[in-house]
Amino acid sequence: MMTCVRLCGRSTCAVLLVAALLVLTAAPAGALTVVDMLGREVKLAGPPRRIVSLVPSATELIYALGGEDRLVGRTDFCDYPPAAKDKPSVGGMVSPSLETIATLKPDLVIATTSGNRLETFTRLEQLGIAVYAVHAQRIAEMLDVTRRLAELTGRQAALGPLISGLESRLFAVANAVRPYPRPRVLYVLWPEPLLVPASRALLTELIGLAGGDSITANERGDYPRFSIEAAVARAPEVILLASHSGSGAPPIAKDKWERLVSLPAVKNKRVHAIDGNLAHRYGPRVVDGVETLARAIHPEAFR
């Protein structure tokens, strides 16, 4: 029962109590009910032993927690750590193969609302496979996901060291950049059409932690299309161009930005490429992402 209590969020005490009563009175021995990040009850026959992750960041977190022996499947995009590629893949995030998932006989599938489809949730549940939803748009939520995954994989012992390690690194970055003025930063997620991180994006928080002020931080949504001339008018002092792994060439288009000679960032040669994989996924590597962003935004702080 402790498992259940710790897995549940503060706001779901009532649900939790009911769930606890149900488990105590009716369920077979070892069965438990957990509440996922959408507030849905997920019934499990016991602590999950065979987990399929449809979320690359969750896959990374499970490895960081050392719970990978319980991971039996992943998606094509779960490419980190490299060892994850040794696990069988169930296909992409949008349309994973339900057959492949079923043949892996998972007792739990980790899914997300941003990237997976609702249809996948319902189909899996129709097949009698428990689905646990995670989502994170803030570092605090990422740490919450980490806690939940530690419980689900029985790796509570690894949780404390992992989180305190991540937190102390974030603290170190905050200390390093604090003495310096915060430059206006334009982060280019995609150059054509221009996509930028807005108020709901994890990246906006990361840029702030790295000591920059994102010029698109107050736009609505997560990654909206944005007008280039509005970006130019806001005179960014640092421009960060995300590179993307995967098939094909990364569309960084550095020359396109360097033509905008009126920008302080261009005059001062502050147009940098950034490895997007570090900062776009809310896995443990977001802290690497914050460090990379901080080095790009404040090179003077890391000499």
């Binding site: 992409g92 736009e219 990654y223 944005f226 007008s227 280039i228 130019v232 008018a233 094909g248 994989n277």
Partner: protein, 335 residues
């Protein structure tokens, strides 16, 4: 004829100019009309923000919108004359979808020098457009004619096929890049660099020249291939030339701006209402009128939700889809 053409062209050019003037003053960077005028007159420093915004971003984007709109409208006139069907249009016929597939393949097979890239991507798009167009032609042709239902169905089928092929390619792409590709597929006008604009203009001019030079032959063809043959016109050669040129126009727009629907439907139809069915009038006026139309749509896309942006393809579809239904319902007897 010449006098009507000159009159129509002058009117449309005046409209285009007026729209362009409005477009150059509107944008998410808040610049006063006076600043805009001074910048246009060369009064702003070469490195100033005003200069970059007006001369580096707004004017190239206006040029790209005009080129894309003109090319799409001329391609529309070409396809309509070929199939003798007023509903034929690059996106309705699935030719845009074929070009999109080609362009996505072209983008995925690697990249190096910027100019070479543009040409290579356009070439892949051209290949895709030709394959899709040929497929529609073969599916829909019944003894050299194109019954409306068959043609529309063939276009839908080919469009779905290439749309699916694009989806397959996208599913191989990392989730982080997905947003970029998906937005590109909605169609959007970019402030192209000068070299790309030149390539775009050259492709559009080639396609335009190839179709406008056959305008008289297309008029005769409208009377039937037998009539054309009696007048000494090589119908097959005319059809191939116009088909290849229209595919080239479509592919160049898809390569530089993404698939934008319905421009090739709305503009030729409006011009036909005003000027009649003469292709010698329609082809040149479609170039100018299409440019003005897409420039209006792109100015809306740029400013409606500023500083965020909409895809211009969404705007044209918003106007175009109801217009398509209107044509289908009211012109049934004629079709």
């Amino acid at each position: 004829m010449t006098r009507r053409l000159v009159g129509a062209l002058a009117t449309l050019a005046a409209i285009l100019l007026a729209v362009a003037v409005v477009a150059v003053f509107l944008g998410s960077a808040r610049l006063s009309p006076l600043t805009v005028l001074r910048t246009l007159g060369g009064g702003a420093g070469a490195d100033s923000t005003e200069n970059i915004v007006i001369l580096g971003l707004r004017l190239p984007r206006i040029a790209a919108a005009v080129l894309a709109g003109g090319a799409l409208a001329v391609a529309g006139v070409g396809f309509q004359a070929l199939t003798r069907n007023p509903l034929a249009e690059p996106s309705v016929l699935g030719v845009s979808a074929g070009a999109s597939f080609g362009v996505v393949v072209g983008q995925l097979v690697g990249s190096s020098g910027a100019l070479f890239d543009t040409v290579r991507v356009a070439a892949f798009g051209f290949g895709g457009a030709l394959v899709a167009g040929a497929a529609v032609y073969l599916i829909a042709s019944v003894h050299g004619t194109f019954p409306i239902q068959t043609l529309l169905l063939a276009g839908v089928i080919v469009g779905i096929f290439f749309g699916a092929a694009v989806t397959v390619l996208i599913s191989l792409v990392d989730i982080d890049r997905l947003g970029g590709v998906v937005h590109w597929l909605l169609g959007n006008i970019a402030p192209l660099p000068a070299r790309s604009l030149l390539v775009f203009a050259a492709l559009a001019a080639a396609g335009f020249a190839a179709i406008v030079s056959q305008a008289r032959e297309l008029n005769v063809l409208a009377l039937g291939e037998e009539a054309a043959r009696q007048l000494g016109i090589d119908a097959e050669r005319v059809k191939v030339q116009v088909f290849v040129a229209a595919a080239l126009l479509t592919a160049s727009v898809v390569a530089f701006a993404g698939p934008i629907g319905f421009v090739g439907l709305i503009v030729p139809h409006m011009l036909r209402l005003l000027l009649g069915p003469d292709n010698r009038l329609l082809v040149p006026t479609a170039m100018v009128g299409g440019g003005a139309f897409l420039l209006v749509a792109d100015t809306i896309a740029r400013n409606a939700v500023a500083p965020a942006e909409l895809s211009v393809g969404i705007i044209t579809s918003f106007f175009g889809a109801p217009f398509f239904v209107y044509l289908l319902r009211t012109r049934r007897g004629v079709l």
